[in-house]
Amino acid sequence: MIEAVGLSKHYGAKKAVDDISFSVKPGAVTGFLGPNGAGKSTTMRMIVGLDRPSAGTVTVNGKPYAEHKAPLREVGALLDAKAVHTGRSAVNHLLAIGATHGIGRKRVDEVIALTGLQSVARKRVGGFSLGMGQRLGLAVALLGDPRTLVLDEPVNGLDPEGVIWVRTLARHLASEGRTVLLSSHLMSEMAQTADHIIVLGRGRVVADASVAEILAKASGNAVTVRTPDAERFASLLTSPEVTVTATEPGLLVVAGLPAARIGELAAAERVVLHELTPVAGNLESAYLQLTQDDVEYRAGGAPEGAAQ
């Protein structure tokens, strides 16, 4: 169980995390989602005490992380696969971290086997690929057999097999009653792993709901409509409940009306349709809707609002 109350982190005038409150419950995988710079990593760093909150508190299993007698058994954290001395071998890295808690060789060998690092365990970490570094970071997180896992972008750099392994592992750990918080900026990744999602945008909680609820909201069931008479049809369709977006000439995205109803309206108005495709409500579009105002680093090009 992780609980944040009024948590904030300011760097000068910039509010990286701005007064957020949330709780992450045991027995489920909670996804921490948001565009780059939304405050996910900063929040995770505050959970394990690496960053000091500017205001508010965050506790793990009832206490601030630093006050636990055995921090590594409370929280296993993968915040940064680069948090390793590059001159040390993987096995010595794990032995050194484990030693602080009296965790010995046996458990180190276990997590090496679990993360598939046997063949490189004695090599210096400096030569590791991104994926190997990520596996080592996961091995460190699992070292204390922790009740809570905090994983920042755990699948970053992993091959497809590794991605599936992490997903299965996260689900397995949650099924054992552990608290699992993992972050991603990819909604598709979350959709396959998480039960519950907390969406961050510009340091604030934009949404905090189960995957099913977020999907339901997203299923304002957008429909793409291709027609040579786009302008007229768009004005016919538009109403307070219906939003029509022209994404390119002759192509409309209609939200708020089922495809069948749009087809009937087109027939009644004698509008020629070249395409009528319901877009399945997906988390990706829900996510984009939720965060569209909160993307800090927008790709250059079209000025804001030009597409509307």
């Binding site: 005490g49 000091r52 055995a70 921090p71 590059t86 971290i97 808690h101 460190v140």
Partner: protein, 277 residues
Amino acid sequence: MTTTLPHLTFGGILRSEWIKLRSLRSTFWCYSILVFLTVGLGLLFAATFSGMGEMDYDTQQTFAVQAATLSLGMSQLVVCVLGALVITGEYGTGMIRSTLTAVPTRLPALAAKALVFAAVTFVISLVSIVLTMLISAPLLAGNGIEVDLGSAAVWLPLVGAAGYLALIGVLAFSLGTIIRHSAGGIAAVLGLILVVPTIVSVFAVITRAEWVANAQNFLPSNAGARMYAYVSDAAAAVDPMGLNATPLEPWQGALVVVAWVAALLVLAGVLLKRRDA
């Protein structure tokens, strides 16, 4: 039951820092250079020393102690580099975040790192200095110096030399923790032990002010030199310019170095505790 489950202990943190120290190549190389310098320079001195005619007992013992500690001017630099690297290497690679996640109260990690590094440096320095003394004694005997290996006054500066190296290493470690950057940390400590004494002594010569000459004695490298000086040559070693500066006793020199280390280590601790990792 709960006591058998793994948990954070200071002993465990010490063990962790010991594993970290011995599992890096830089440790091996720095200590190898330290031993090589100590033994090599000492033996070179002992073997090539050409007699200065009849020497009194104290002069003979002074030369013997100098042979065993001749390398210190250089080996202190090696120890300082390693001392800074022990912590700045963690900042440079990001390892510090793993360290502070495992020990979120932070100060025990700093203390354990300093202790392990100081202990290992002390033992390796002492062994190589004593070894140098034992090997060079017969060589010196052939060059007109009878080393009195039964005298505490001969052994104390050898222990003091090892103690100085351990302390100056922790001073470098503290500066490394404060600066958090390898090049910056090393530059700061080398500046403090090489550049600052030169500037102060030039200043002392120009102004001929007694307080400046006295202030020199309180710089870590000058005060530290008193820890490994054979006591009877104290005045000559500290007052080369003849400025009548009051030399420190060896124990006073040790206290001054300890004070420097303590002040910087406390500052390092305060900053480590306060700053985001």
